[in-house]
């Protein structure tokens, strides 16, 4: 089953409320995915700095041990390290050498990514999603059907800088696709099919495709059931497989574009009663960019 949500703000005055709106959407989707939850938020950041979201145990002293200009913001089992871009190599090398137990789950100028096992409302609370601000965010509630309930199996997946994807469905050709992508330098942390979809889009974006073009080609190259919601530093996009196996509802107003697996997820959004509510068509890419 699984539930997915996404919120892309057009109105800057809503940015301080992004986290609380997204938390509300995520909680309603608990019925569709009570096993684990995750979300990515595009918050503050600048072009000179990089943010690295890592998860693991005993993260309290990591930023200090890295020293220099590295700042750390701890939220429960996750730590967001931020530092000047020039430090990236050193930070990654140190983590790999000194703390191989720590997993890097997201990197980019603005993306922060959190995922954990548990009821969506509890997960959102542990990371204080309601207190986060940002321009856009996506979230996922998981009902595991084909692999174990683990944090690693929770969405979103991020396989490129400031890129992330949530997926409702299952892919049939992820094994063969993985063998195509790995020689091209796309690396995977899990055996999850959705991570392969994220990697596929990262590869297309790296080759120069726009987000919309990358999703357009996924309709040809991915086999299986999928509704994807995808975020990039400045973009937000949705696509469904040609037989629209998995549900999707969208709402658009002057203030935002919102996505939910069901309309119920959108009920708490401001001005929803006057929003244009529609069902995205199968095999059609819907994409928005910030200007």
């Amino acid at each position: 089953m699984c539930g997915i949500v996404g919120l892309f703000l057009k109105d800057q005055t809503l940015e301080p409320r992004l986290g609380s709106l997204l938390a509300g959407m995520l909680e309603v989707m608990s019925d569709r995915g009570p096993d684990s939850a995750g979300f990515a938020v595009y918050g503050s950041g600048d072009t000179d700095h990089l943010k690295l979201t890592v998860r693991g145990k005993n993260l309290e002293d990591v930023a200090q041990a890295l020293g220099g200009p590295v700042q750390g913001k701890l939220r429960d089992s996750h730590l967001v390290l931020s530092f000047p871009k020039g430090e990236e190599k050193r930070v990654r090398a140190w983590l790999g050498c000194e703390r191989p137990d720590i997993k890097i789950i997201g990197a980019g100028q603005r993306i922060e990514l959190y995922k954990e096992v548990g009821l969506p409302a509890d997960v959102a609370k542990r990371f204080d999603l309601s207190g986060m601000s940002g321009t856009h965010g996506i979230g996922h509630t998981r009902m595991a059907t084909e692999s174990a309930v683990t944090t690693a199996g929770a969405h979103p997946f991020s396989t490129g800088a400031d890129q992330c994807l949530v997926h409702n469905g299952s892919l049939s050709n992820h094994r063969s696709l993985r063998r195509v992508l790995e020689p091209k330098g796309i690396t995977f942390e899990t055996d999850n099919d959705s991570e392969v979809a994220a990697g596929y889009l990262s590869w297309k974006l790296r080759e120069g495709a726009t987000l919309a073009e990358a999703l357009e080609s996924s309709l040809t190259d991915l086999d299986g059931f999928f509704t994807f919601v995808v975020g990039t530093e400045s973009g937000f996009a949705v696509v469904r497989d040609p037989i629209s196996c998995k549900p999707a509802v969208m709402a658009e107003t002057d203030q935002y574009v919102a996505f939910g697996s069901e309309y119920r997820a959108l009920v708490g959004l401001p001005g929803i009663e006057n929003a244009r509510v529609f069902e995205p068509e199968p095999a059609r890419v819907y994409a928005w960019e910030r200007h």
Binding site: P242, I243, S244, P247, V249, E262, Y263, R264, L266, V267, E273, V277, F278, E279, E281, P282
Partner: protein, 229 residues
Amino acid sequence: MSVVDLAVTSRRELNIQLHALAPNTNQTHWRVENPNGQHSLAVGLDAPVTVEIAGHAGYYCAGMNKQATVVVEGNAGVGVAENMISGMVHVKGDASQAAGATAHGGLLVIDGDASARCGISMKGVNIVVKGSIGPMSAFMAQSGTLIVLGDAGDALGDSIYEARLFVRGSVKSLGTDCVEKTLREEHKEELRELLNAAGLGDAINVDEFKRYGSSRKLYNFHVDNAAAY
């Protein structure tokens, strides 16, 4: 008029109240406020009453409906009027997938669009969609009539039996064994009757429709296909 506010009353309580109605009830007009996309609203009704849903409905709204008139003043989720037996369901917005699936009778009117698989396996229901319908609509449709004022998506009427399909706009593609057929006077008469029932009256010119149905080639085993098994 009986008003049920789903902000304070549970959906299950609403359905229990509606199921308890006697055939000769005086409580014939119900209004459901704050539906907020909840699933299974006004399902399994069996009394000649009118229920207005004041907003968007979730999955399977008015499923298994008998006798009642259910009006959704917004969009309806997956499977609206699924397995309807009689009565009428009127969606004033759009309907999601599988609208009117397997329904045996009654009238389903959708003012907006219906997405994929509208009328899948319909068994006698009449469906009027004022907008367009998505792909794979009327898949394995057995009987009843589907009228579409707009366009139809891919694979309309795939593996259709004896349902009658009328589309005024374009059809992206026809499914296996579904073919265009001649629109005769008796079909125009049926169109007029159903369009009237859907409140469209004479505003629509029935000559603009095309009729589609089964070429009946899948009905019997064909010996030339023996090698395919």
